[in-house]
Symmetry: C2
Subunit: 133 residues, 2 copies
């Protein structure tokens, strides 16, 4: 009833998708905006927000967080988790050696049907460790 029936590939949407896919730092909406703006100076921040929403809805990118009040986006759709550095705030990827046995160890849910779960890590990044943290 409320989703668009046809999704069009506008040049703005394509640019936003490519910028997000090419970024390795899990950008915020504003960071995507700044990236796209270098090639398309008239694009508006509202358009970036609307397209990131559509692209995430279509499964072409992933929404992360919010971290520190800001939503982030990831062009990498593969199954992986994330760590946030508590000092500098950067987000990095985490590949688990083996999928932890979550399903089997969740019997105490109060009648919920589980759809998904995510593991969020917090830690200190290599750079901040060097700086004495």
């Amino acid at each position: 009833m409320d989703k668009p029936l046809n999704v069009r590939m506008t040049k703005q949407r394509l640019a936003i998708l490519k910028a997000t896919k090419s970024s390795k730092c899990h950008p915020t909406a504003n960071e995507v905006y700044l990236m796209v703006r270098t090639k398309m100076p008239n694009i508006s921040l509202g358009t970036v927000y609307r397209n990131l929403e559509v692209l995430a809805e279509k499964g072409l990118i992933r929404r992360l967080g919010p971290y520190d009040d800001k939503m982030r986006f990831d062009g990498d759709i593969s199954d992986h988790h994330h760590v946030k550095c508590v000092f500098c705030g950067r987000i990095d990827d985490v590949e688990l050696k083996e999928k932890p046995e979550i399903e089997g160890s969740v019997p105490c849910l109060p009648g919920y049907k589980i759809i998904s779960y995510g593991i969020e890590f917090e830690g200190i990044c290599p750079e901040c460790q060097k700086k004495g943290h």
Copy 2:
């Protein structure tokens, strides 16, 4: 330099702590405000925010989320996780039968020193299942 040296137990702070502890629904700041207001009609929302911050900092309560743009608070400090119903948005507790083997299966961190991790579940609550979801 920036944390208060002495923490005073004002009647507002105590009321906020008790309200949060007695609530079983992981209230938002505004919900805590409404609860406390019934006993202390002149309390301000700003005071609630400031005190929830202090109480969480001191480890007397836990900050959750944000879920749907709103931070939530939990008077239960014990080690447990949470499920969010994707339809009605309520948050329930999850007790894992056994602590999943996370530590041993995280070798691929890019040099991070891990401080903590959390598991966030999404699912459909019993009530929403009954309603056909």
